[in-house]
């Protein structure tokens, strides 16, 4: 024993490091245990390294009833309506997990900010009508004591959709549906177009539909910050982290027709902190997937789509990232202040931005020319080749323009039918979706938030019936095709 104690080796390093001045080994120090205990005691004493009450305020709570993955406008809208519609007040604990608090890649912040009712699917029209009513009365909905009122700079200039010969019949039937739902849209012939908007070149235009009320554009960042402020005042917790794992359990049951299904239930969400390996398991009852363009990855983590393809188990969430460019240009002879948000028959669009003859616009690329969504770099050649020619043809004043700046943003593109996915997943029982809006999420956000909150609290949609938008349609193959997608 003495010989072991006197042997050099690891233990000497332990002893020598700051524990005392004597370098020899005491006979009591068997295998370095005493020195280790001494070290531990010293670290517990006041000047030591171990602090049992370290500050963990940056971590999310260990338990939250609802976890909303994604803090963009959809996620915040769901949080707002959950807190607003719950009876009694203050019952549910909601946690919003957002990976990037600067919103540098979020679709909300990079959006063009338009809102229209000119859709072909009636549910989309209803969603948009409620959202515009929300936006017009935003200071009644999102008022916070002692804070200044919001100014979302809603420009109600309307949308102008132009259709060629081929699309004129579809446009007429769409306008009929829109009028039935209560949107105020008028159809214009090329003659009327020229009278109203002298800067338009109506060559190739057979019909145009012009929204007269409740359409236009607004500042999405203001809506986001307003929602964030209000939602924080209602008691929702925010967490700066990334969801890396769902701990779930599954159980097997039989349907009435005798086939076996596996139902999953998420118990915990692991939220990883930014730039560190530390994570916090958050015990939850419900998860709401509002992660926008990245919802597909979140759904995969939860086990959606893990199964043989063609079955409900194997149906994945068909939401993926698609990059879209937006260009800002200056054109001093351009259309005036009355310019609506113009969407050409070719798919190119533009709108006025501010009061200094600036215009925003872009065009959705075709399937073959989809840019790589790996980064948010802008392709200026795309403007030269694909955006400028149709716009210059439609608005002759745009033949001379100067591009000021451009940016790119992501669409949470639903590859199945380009409409949102709302509601619970049939097999992962406590995951709700609110994603996949393919470019019109911002304008439907308030209404979608309310719909999801109603689904969570009541079990069914109460105000706007979004059952065509449930997840089941991906398995059943029932497309809710929207014709007016830009």
């Amino acid at each position: 024993m003495l010989r072991r104690a006197l042997q050099p080796g690891l233990s000497r390093g332990v002893l020598g490091r700051g524990l005392g001045t004597h370098r020899g080994r005491s006979t009591l120090d068997q295998n370095g245990k005493v020195s280790e205990i001494k070290k531990k005691i010293q670290s517990v004493l006041p000047r030591g390294a171990w602090n049992p009450l370290r500050d963990t305020s940056y971590l999310p709570p260990e338990h939250s009833d609802v976890v909303i993955v994604g803090g963009g406008v959809i996620g915040l809208s769901v949080a707002y309506w959950l807190k607003r519609l719950e009876k009694p007040q203050g019952a549910i604990r909601v946690l919003v997990v957002e990976r990037d608090h600067t919103y540098s890649q979020a679709s909300t912040a990079l959006s063009v900010g338009g809102i229209r009712q000119q859709f072909s699917v009636p549910e989309n029209i209803q969603l948009s009508l409620f959202s515009v009513e929300f936006l017009r009365n935003i200071n009644e909905y999102l008022a916070v004591v002692d804070d200044p009122p919001l100014d979302i700079q809603f420009n109600p200039s309307g949308y102008l959709l132009l259709a060629s010969e081929k699309g004129a019949a579809v446009m007429e039937s769409n306008v009929k549906v829109q009028r039935q739902e209560g949107a105020k849209v008028c159809l214009m012939s090329p003659e009327q177009l020229r009278n109203k908007f002298p800067w338009i070149n109506t060559e190739g235009v057979a019909l145009a539909s012009y929204g007269m009320e409740h359409e236009g554009w607004f500042d999405p960042w203001c809506l986001l910050q307003g929602l964030r402020r209000k939602v924080q005042s209602m008691g929702v917790l925010f967490c700066h982290g990334e969801v890396t794992r769902f701990v779930s359990s599954s159980s097997h049951t039989e349907t009435t027709s005798g086939e076996e299904v596996t139902l999953r239930r998420i118990h915990e969400v692991h939220v990883k902190m930014d730039r560190s390996l530390e994570y916090q398991p958050v015990e939850c009852a419900l998860v709401i997937n509002a992660a926008g363009a990245w919802s597909g990855q979140i759904a995969e983590l939860a086990g959606v789509g893990k199964g043989p393809p063609g079955t409900l188990q194997g149906t994945q969430l068909p939401v993926e990232l698609r990059k879209r460019y937006v260009y800002l240009w200056h054109c001093p002879q351009g259309p005036g202040l009355e310019t609506p948000f113009v969407i050409d028959a070719s798919g190119a669009y533009f709108r006025r931005e501010g009061l200094g003859n600036n215009y925003l616009g872009g065009c959705s690329p075709t399937e073959e020319e989809e840019p790589d969504p790996g980064n948010l770099e802008v392709d200026h050649d795309f403007f030269q080749d694909k955006v400028w020619p149709p716009l210059a043809q439609r608005v002759p004043a745009f033949e001379t323009l100067k591009v000021r700046s451009a940016w790119a943003g992501y669409y949470d593109y639903n590859t199945f039918d380009q409409n949102g996915v709302v509601g619970p997943h049939p097999l992962v029982v406590n995951m709700y979706f609110a994603t996949g809006f393919s470019g019109h999420g911002l304008q439907q956000a308030p209404a979608v938030g309310r719909a999801v909150a109603e689904m969570v609290l009541d079990g069914h949609f109460r105000t706007i019936n979004l059952s065509p938008f449930l997840f089941n349609r991906f398995y059943l193959g029932e497309k809710v095709q929207e014709h007016n997608i830009i």
Binding site: E62, P88, A91, I92, S251, R264, H267, A285, V429, V456
Partner: protein, 459 residues
């Protein structure tokens, strides 16, 4: 008494030396056997006590409470199995040891002869409870809860120590059996009023009295299931038991000193019942209902009539079993949905019909349905307070109505209606859970056949 205490002490080495797959089985069966050993003490032939030794005695007040305590340990162990299943073995054994230690202290408290020994063990029960709440609770708020629990009780009971020492000096003994015969009427003076307050405040905090009840919702909600069960069923009754014993030594001051506390209790019981109607958290609702029921017990004890003492004892036993059962039901909900919010787990009757039957029976006993012992207790208390002052019947009547309202509200919100989408795949009820509920309910229902066991010494 040693035949209960020594086996309880020996449960601890048995836990530590059991094989891993036998710890639950061993502890549950042996604690059940110990509870059967305490049953014979219930047969109290007269209003004297059964004196086992100089240190321990039982009379018809402490025997039912003792039986309740020993009956609760196997139930606590059964309820804790699920949430401890993922812990390492040593921690499981530590948890069981804490429960057994708590049990031991409680047994000795209820049977103590000497009031100083009662006090020491009264304080000692705080330690394992605090460890259970702060170490095994579910949320970060448990640290706050433990602090509130510890310091409210300690600050309340420190004057009690001083008062007991003073009385020991005065009377020469604090042996309860002798003190009740040697006690003299306390003349009315400021120092005697302070003595009265010092003696009673500890138990008022423990009961809890309405103004001092802040620790209870926190502690009950943050504690794990066994902690909630033992807190609701037994620890609150320590306060009632202590008050019943100590008021014997404090005559005749109680007749006028009791006024503020009576007012506070009666107002408090309506207030806390009303708070229950607004609660969203299931455990919080049950915790506030405990405060409300215990306020009735405080009123009964302060009125100091034979009828009220019978009501108080019956209510304590009945509430112990009912409250513990409600906590077990809430816990079975929580284990499945991971949320204590009532509206997130609705319509369970269609999914778990047997559990719905237990929910129904527990809610019915909570609202004091005849012929349960809950009703006997409440009715006797209402009658006694009516004879003390006619006006109290209004307050008592309002309280009974609101109690019925929130019990049924809890039942309807959790059981009836359409179930939410996200509880479709909860696990069906385990046999262990059903046994737990039945073992809570059987004594409750059987006692309604022979309530004189729990009606206390003045029957």
């Amino acid at each position: 008494m040693l035949k209960i205490i020594i086996p309880t002490i020996m449960l601890m080495p048995m836990t530590w030396m059991s094989k891993p797959h036998m710890i639950w089985i061993n502890t549950t069966t042996y604690s059940l056997l110990i509870s059967l050993t305490s049953l014979p003490l219930l047969s109290q032939p007269n209003d004297n006590s059964l004196n086992s030794s100089l240190l321990f005695f039982t009379d018809s007040l402490s025997a039912p409470l003792l039986t309740l305590t020993t009956w609760l340990l196997p139930l606590m162990l059964m309820a804790s199995q699920f949430h401890l299943s993922k812990e390492p073995l040593a921690r499981k054994k530590l948890y069981i040891t804490m429960l057994i230690l708590l049990q031991l202290f409680l047994i000795m408290t209820f049977t103590a002869t000497e009031l100083i020994m009662f006090y020491i063990l009264f304080e000692a029960t705080l330690v394992p409870t605090l460890i259970i709440i702060t170490r095994w609770g579910n949320q970060t708020e448990r640290l706050n809860a433990g602090l509130y629990f510890l310091f409210y009780t300690l600050v309340g009971s420190l004057p009690l120590l001083v008062a007991l020492l003073y009385m020991q000096n005065n009377m020469g003994t604090l042996n309860f059996l002798m003190a009740q015969y040697w006690t003299q009427a306390l003349p009315n003076s400021w120092s005697n009023i302070l003595l009265w307050l010092a003696c009673m405040m500890a138990f008022m905090v423990k009961m809890p009295l309405y103004g001092l009840h802040l620790w209870l919702p926190k502690a009950h909600v943050e504690a794990p299931i066994a902690g909630s069960m033992v807190l609701a069923a037994v620890l609150l009754k320590l306060g009632g038991y202590g008050m019943m014993r100590i008021t014997i030594l404090l005559n005749p001051l109680t007749s006028f000193m009791a006024y503020p506390f009576m007012m506070l209790s009666m107002w408090g019981m309506i207030m806390t019942s009303s708070i229950c109607l607004r609660q969203t958290d299931l455990k919080s609702l049950i915790a506030y209902s405990s405060v409300s029921h215990m306020a009735l017990v405080i009123v009964a004890i302060l009125v100091q009539t034979p009828l009220s003492y019978m009501g108080a004892t019956a209510l304590m036993i009945a509430h112990g079993l009912t409250s513990s059962m409600l906590f077990c039901l809430a816990n079975s909900n929580y284990e499945r949905t991971h949320s204590r919010i009532m509206i997130l787990a609705r319509g369970l009757q269609t999914l778990l019909p047997l559990m719905a039957a237990w929910w129904l029976l527990a809610s019915l006993t909570n609202l004091a349905l005849p012929p349960t012992i809950n009703l006997i207790g409440e009715l006797l208390v209402v009658m006694a307070s009516f004879s003390w002052s006619n006006a109290t019947i209004i307050l008592m009547g309002v309280n009974i109505t609101i109690t019925a309202l929130y019990s049924l509200y809890m039942l309807i919100t959790t059981q009836r209606g359409k179930h939410t989408h996200h509880i479709k795949n909860i696990k069906p009820s385990f046999t262990r859970e059903n046994t737990l509920m039945m073992l809570h309910l059987m004594p409750l229902l059987l006692l309604s056949l022979n309530p004189k066991l729990i009606l206390g010494p003045l029957y």
